[in-house]
Symmetry: C4
Subunit: 340 residues, 4 copies
Amino acid sequence: VGEIINLADFEERARQTLDPAAWAYLEGGASDEITLRANEEAFRRRRFRPRVLRDVSSCDLSTTLLGQAARMPVGIAPTAHHGLFHPECELGAARAAAAAGVPFTASTNSSLSLEAIAAAGGDRWFQLYAQRDRAVTESLVKRAEASGYRALVVTLDTAGQGRRERDMRMRDVMPQTTQGNDATGGNSLEAVAPFLSWRDIDWLRDLTPLPLVLKGIMTPEDAALAVEHGAAAVWVSNHGGRQLDRSLATIDVLEDVAAAAGGKAEVYVDGGVRRGGDVAVALALGARAVFVGRPVLYALAVGGERGVRDALAVIKAELRNTMALLGIRAIGEIARDCVL
Amino acid sequence: VGEIINLADFEERARQTLDPAAWAYLEGGASDEITLRANEEAFRRRRFRPRVLRDVSSCDLSTTLLGQAARMPVGIAPTAHHGLFHPECELGAARAAAAAGVPFTASTNSSLSLEAIAAAGGDRWFQLYAQRDRAVTESLVKRAEASGYRALVVTLDTAGQGRRERDMRMRDVMPQTTQGNDATGGNSLEAVAPFLSWRDIDWLRDLTPLPLVLKGIMTPEDAALAVEHGAAAVWVSNHGGRQLDRSLATIDVLEDVAAAAGGKAEVYVDGGVRRGGDVAVALALGARAVFVGRPVLYALAVGGERGVRDALAVIKAELRNTMALLGIRAIGEIARDCVL
Amino acid sequence: VGEIINLADFEERARQTLDPAAWAYLEGGASDEITLRANEEAFRRRRFRPRVLRDVSSCDLSTTLLGQAARMPVGIAPTAHHGLFHPECELGAARAAAAAGVPFTASTNSSLSLEAIAAAGGDRWFQLYAQRDRAVTESLVKRAEASGYRALVVTLDTAGQGRRERDMRMRDVMPQTTQGNDATGGNSLEAVAPFLSWRDIDWLRDLTPLPLVLKGIMTPEDAALAVEHGAAAVWVSNHGGRQLDRSLATIDVLEDVAAAAGGKAEVYVDGGVRRGGDVAVALALGARAVFVGRPVLYALAVGGERGVRDALAVIKAELRNTMALLGIRAIGEIARDCVL
Amino acid sequence: VGEIINLADFEERARQTLDPAAWAYLEGGASDEITLRANEEAFRRRRFRPRVLRDVSSCDLSTTLLGQAARMPVGIAPTAHHGLFHPECELGAARAAAAAGVPFTASTNSSLSLEAIAAAGGDRWFQLYAQRDRAVTESLVKRAEASGYRALVVTLDTAGQGRRERDMRMRDVMPQTTQGNDATGGNSLEAVAPFLSWRDIDWLRDLTPLPLVLKGIMTPEDAALAVEHGAAAVWVSNHGGRQLDRSLATIDVLEDVAAAAGGKAEVYVDGGVRRGGDVAVALALGARAVFVGRPVLYALAVGGERGVRDALAVIKAELRNTMALLGIRAIGEIARDCVL
């Protein structure tokens, strides 16, 4: 690639840059990677119905997420171990998000501690892997509150470890990075608790005033339960195709999940977002925001904070362009009939 | 390619002939070029239902468009900057259209002035990009009237600039051509006004006695509004896949748009026409005529006026052959049940 | 290819054997060859529902066609100019058909005269291209009667000449063969009459006691008209994809055509038959017999009469095998529920 | 391949290891191998609907098959001539099955005698090709009873010999193996009786107290008849795509067959199983167990008993992982709504 014009350019350049094992970890999905591919393809199959002569002289991309202003309906999804990709680690991506006015979600498994990441400012959310020892979990939550994180994103789709075969074949040559929250917290980070139930959600809801975002919901049934258990938001995700292969594409379940949420919880989606137009598709199908994972890491690998800023600018420019050509003046106007 | 037999032969020869940047400009579409490909594929997916023993000894391809006779239900779509492709510029294509008895649509962004193009004679229409300064727009319209253009084709799908990535990568090496209407008119041509509304259409309707053709309609909703605002024709177009990628293929929206026009406005379509049989498909789905863009430029690049004459002759021969084999004796007999 | 096991082996060996222009003529279809490919693909998309434990110890493939016994529900479709493919010309294929107990259809455009072909014996049908001069047509029909042909197959789908682009590119190097019926008949063979109507069918019906088989029917509407005009059989055909490209695949219209024939005319189909299993598919969808075109020419090119005998034996073995594995003991048991 | 991680790794390594004719025999299917491919593709097209927060801390894969405990709902399908693939012959696979706690089905055409295979212990079933001479059949059944086989699996889909063209081309170079049941039994093994009827099933049911498993059922009609004739289980199979090409994929008929069995017979399925997740798909669609054929032979070729143990361990790990990520705690919880 010469000039960087779209997110695929970041991907190609990152592929050339990164250590093969780090690349396998970043790019790979579970088993046959059917869901990995399906996520992207499901977006690409959707078709727009553009309207004309709607005077889009002002085109407002801003929205609110959990009550906080966001300059576009896009956030950065939690991804682990940024140290594998760039020496700025999570700070690069977090600062870029703050500069762009969109939320950054810090992973429990970040290379830097959540306190270190907090220095980036901006709207920060904390992604929680509930730990086997509830005291460790509680400590993580309290640290997140103390460091100004504004939402707790609980990952639900890790009842088993996804069979990521690229990783399995690279196991012995995988580069190492720091475990940020282990080194700096009051408790040592233990193995993730795989066997969560709705009682754990109730316990978390009582533990913290932070809004709970439940990530990994793929069915209307679970969306309805999430609302019932007090979730502030339902995050449609199949973990980027890294957990259960042959799961449905996220965009294909979004509409039913949003209907089940019934306006009582915000609805987010991740998986396969590679174009600003994807954001419009997701919003038309009921999402309030879209979260971006791998492309942020591509951009981080290519240029640290600067790269991620550029990637977010590409998404924004593409989304603005899509909205103008759809005849949409504000985020709230993106309705079901924009896409087929 | 040896002998030229079909439009794909022109395309291949043009590819070999043209400067790579001019080729990229001609051939490219927006973003992932999904809509660019979808336009052609949507035609190719349709299937004919041929009838036999209908005595097609006379097979009449003639029709009328906006009340003017046309020797076949085909016209030349507006495309910019013919100077990039052949020294005859727009005159080559316009003369070929006049010779073939089909309308030629001159682009606002032509390499020659609209007055210079008028020398070609024939049924000429003027494509208008409304300008930021209404006085400039008015001047263009009055010049078109004065030069004998018979219709005003208003392009509606440019509320943003399509993200044509092939162009973006070729920006620095794009060859230059003249801006015909700038040099010869009374006003200098300014930036296109992106933010049109139906009030601008009303203003144009009051400004000129020319029939208004609204180009870039992709939904029944907008087709109904077009009729309501006095359009003489609705032109289904996604700008050849150059504006909003993932727009529906034009042929896939045609039937609904035609139903919404309800016979109160003529309906045209462009995008992906590569065979005379495509014309029959479009007419069966409700179009009164089909407009051809890129193939005209391929033929212009290959052989100037002569090339475009040959290309129009290929389309006509293929259309006549399709009609005979369908058991159709006249344009008006091409009905919905000809295609599946 | 080493050993010849299936019809594709004949095709591959013929490709290696034949002059490139003869190959282009044999293999090519109209325009983009969409229908050419669709014919084969439509068969391959169908799925069988095999039944078990039906005691297929006797498996009877015989049937009757127009009242004549046939040893399997298969015939040889009319194809022109066998002299391009093998020095035995039509006699090779006709003798093989007689030996296999299936009908051979001699083309008006055969390399040998219809009288010469009659020497092959067996159940022979004559394919008629109606001529501009009715006297010539009448002469052909009377010669066919006198030479013992038992049916008149009237080709209906030549209201125009299919645009076979492979042929067009090879025009100057096409090898020559004799025009059998011109040299030997009482009248010279003129250009085919393209502009037939149902009145011509009525005239033919009154002209000859031979049963009329109408070839080239692709719609239920025309099938109903065929019955009304006294056709003994309706032959579903798109001329092997050589006439109107993007016509539906024959197997995809068969069921509706058969329903329209309503048992008042026999129903045949050709186009894309490459396996004995295809015969079972066609019969399940309403055909009484299947006609084979190109594969007979592949086999003729490979081995003359011997080759065609072998090809017919392959089809028979495959059909018998398919029937046994479907749990079918006789042709009449192949019912709609055998295929999906 | 380096490390062996999934069943495809076994396949690739077996391909590198085996004699080309043995490989062709193992890998090939009938005719165009459409059904061979369709079996695998039908599994891959299905999509999971994962549930979260279901506390899968205990995940129980055990089930019963014909009243016998199995440690997972998986068995080894009958395949012939293991001696072509590994010197341990059937004993390698049978011992691996016993070690894994799943049933092994010995083929009539095994390289070792059924008595020799009995030494492996475990839950063993005997696959019967009914012989032309009922006395030979009876002898096989009585030997199977005497050697502790617990079920009689009667193969029904061999009313003809599948046209396996890879084999036909390799006929002269196919390596030889022993015919185990010929050498050791009291009667010589004759040609298989192709022409079975339901009366033969009735005779077998009266002949032996062993539960009858009818293998090769592909329609609800035959499933209903199987129940009526006293089958203990219905085994959905198209013989791994080796008999009737273009048969439906097994997974695509499973649901209807299971509905027809109506809980009165157990339902099994084979064909195209390559992932533990496939087992979950099949159970969701109504199967009680899935049988694995070719992958067992890949593994046998790669490593004898050790290889097959490893292959079964891969399937089990993948199934356990799939169940955990679906939110399933026990085999009985895999319900219709798990898959789309």
